[in-house]
Subunit: 352 residues, 2 copies
């Protein structure tokens, strides 16, 4: 019934090609091709005529054929753990903005933080993109499959989460300095018992934040005992809650509470704050808190969360820029963006 009425749409007539146009105007395909790409050797009149007919026949170039012929894909692939995280979606926005300006398309993939899935994706990408921009999956240390790409001439740019032993350009924020900014800010207020919620340290970003935390504490002449550091399996809200529980349990058996906690991620900070507050602990009066990433929600919380801004959009945009540099054969090696500490109520102990 319905099917019949839709018949005309089902019956996909073949798309018009330059052959159809050539035939209609009784010229050769090369002439059409040249006219359409504004080649100088075609008379203005003919060009106009051809363009007109092309429009009339609803011609759209078959870019796949163009790609096959020219070897260029005009496409870059983007691989991130997940699209639906403010940090990544904002970086992707930057990448797409840059790519659009250059007339490139953007293919998107989610690794879901699984190296296995990431490898499959990367492998499949080899044939269809000119370059790949990625932030690696957190569940593994070996990401050498990215080298298949660079080895076969597909440039790779890694942003934020990079990987050792991969031939790629990198765009990162100075995580170590970001951590230092956060810890110094806490130290400046006279706090000494500063804990750190870390992510898996084999991932550069979390390893470096830990590093920055440790060296800043060391420089301040403070010793960091084991219980100061908690390594979450990730930096989710849930892990933040688990951290808070650990701290509360220790406190119940006599250990003093931290004066402050520097979290390697905002979501972990959020989870912990909620858990602490549930236990009657006040932020920042009892425990000051600083997060990392400056997610949009930070400023909306009942106790606005201090955080280290990573300039995610800029990172994406720069990664795109670096990609096009590489495509042009000008390999920029690495860009490091300076982080910025945004101070809010959660870390200001001596203010009412």
């Amino acid at each position: 019934m319905r099917k019949l009425s839709h018949h005309s749409f089902q019956m996909t007539r073949k798309r018009t090609s330059i052959y159809d146009i050539a035939q209609r105007l009784d010229v050769s395909v090369s002439t059409v091709s040249r006219a359409l790409s504004d080649h100088p050797s075609i008379s203005a009149a003919l060009k106009e005529r051809i363009r007109e007919v092309a429009r009339e026949m609803h011609y759209t170039p078959n870019s796949v054929a163009v790609n096959l012929k020219t070897g260029r894909r005009n496409t870059i692939g983007v691989v991130v753990p997940g699209i639906n995280r403010s940090f990544f979606s904002s970086a992707i926005e930057g990448i797409e903005d840059k790519a659009y300006k250059q007339g490139y398309d953007v293919l998107i993939y989610q690794s879901k933080d699984s190296a296995e899935r990431e490898e499959r994706i990367v492998h499949s990408l080899a044939g269809k993109v000119d370059g790949v921009i990625a932030s690696v999956a957190a569940d593994a240390t070996d990401h050498s499959y990215y080298n298949h790409l660079s080895a076969s001439g597909v440039p790779v740019v890694l942003f934020d989460r990079t990987a050792k032993g991969v031939d790629a350009g990198t765009v990162i924020v100075d995580d170590c300095q970001g951590a230092a900014l956060a810890v110094e800010h806490l130290l400046r207020q006279g706090m000494k018992r500063i804990y750190h919620f870390a992510g898996p340290r084999h991932v550069n970003v979390w390893g470096n934040r830990l590093e920055g935390y440790l060296s800043t504490m060391r420089e301040a002449g403070l010793s960091v005992s084991d219980e100061y550091i908690f390594e979450g399996i990730n930096t989710s809200e849930q892990e933040g809650r688990r951290f808070a529980e650990t701290v509360l349990t220790a406190h119940a058996s006599g250990q003093p509470l931290p004066e402050a906690v520097f979290f390697a991620g905002d979501f972990a900070a959020l989870g912990a704050m909620l858990e602490f507050q549930k236990a009657g602990i006040r932020i920042p009066e009892d425990i000051a808190v600083v997060g990392f990433a400056n997610e949009p929600f930070c400023q909306l919380l009942p106790t606005p969360l201090s955080s280290v801004d990573q300039f995610s959009y800029k990172m994406g945009y720069m990664a795109g820029k670096m990609m096009f540099d590489r495509l042009r054969g000008e390999p920029q090696v690495g860009i490091v963006i300076a982080p910025e500490l945004i101070i809010r109520k959660s870390s200001l102990k001596n203010t009412k």
Copy 2:
């Protein structure tokens, strides 16, 4: 300097093709092609041998050639106003999940709410995707350029923001019912003077929410005077603030405050709440507030914001599903998802 040391990488050796493999093993290309695609007519031993050599030579299929040959692109295009908005990034996540399962790639574009840019994108998409999933730009009413696609056999699925006169499947939430849920909830608490912050009514989602608001008020026997309705140019935080200012100004000149406001978007609700609170107005005691979309931040606010959940991930996933149905020639016409009102403190007037 550096350039020289990178020389070996620059000098992209040609990728290996099935010809190379065929030559090496002294068989024909078709045999290789068949072996690689697991055709039944090749002996298991040969298949194994061919696969081995393929791996050894780092062969990756040139999908562009496959595409050109088969006419399938195995790619769907996605056009949204902006990636970096929780609603859209979450929907895209759903689309990508579905596409990945089907072995399809996803191309992403941002219209930035500009119909002009959207048209350019849609036009360029014709040659490179099997189907297009989109949420249309808000700045125009005519989106007929999408018909170029469906007319040339590229199915279109519109989600959330649809367009009249476009031959496409649609996945939407019942906005009218969502509005009704919100308003009924307010009415049930005895409020009568309920305002509505609307988006541009020419866009289906905002038009329908307005519709739902009006009919629910009407059914309750309440009249809606002009000042009850405010039509923002969009539903941003900034427009929300502008709304609040308008209300406050009117109040200063003697008009009573609304008892409640139903916002067609969470960001607008947020902006207004902040502005109201700045003016010393309490939420929900003085004015109850309900938003729309149930953005993640709603539950994190100092006064958690009641909102109508749109199930963005599910919308994306369903849109993907509908796309593959259409690609299979089974045109689902439309899916309507039932919204759900999430009640939080911002709309509970009679609770302390």
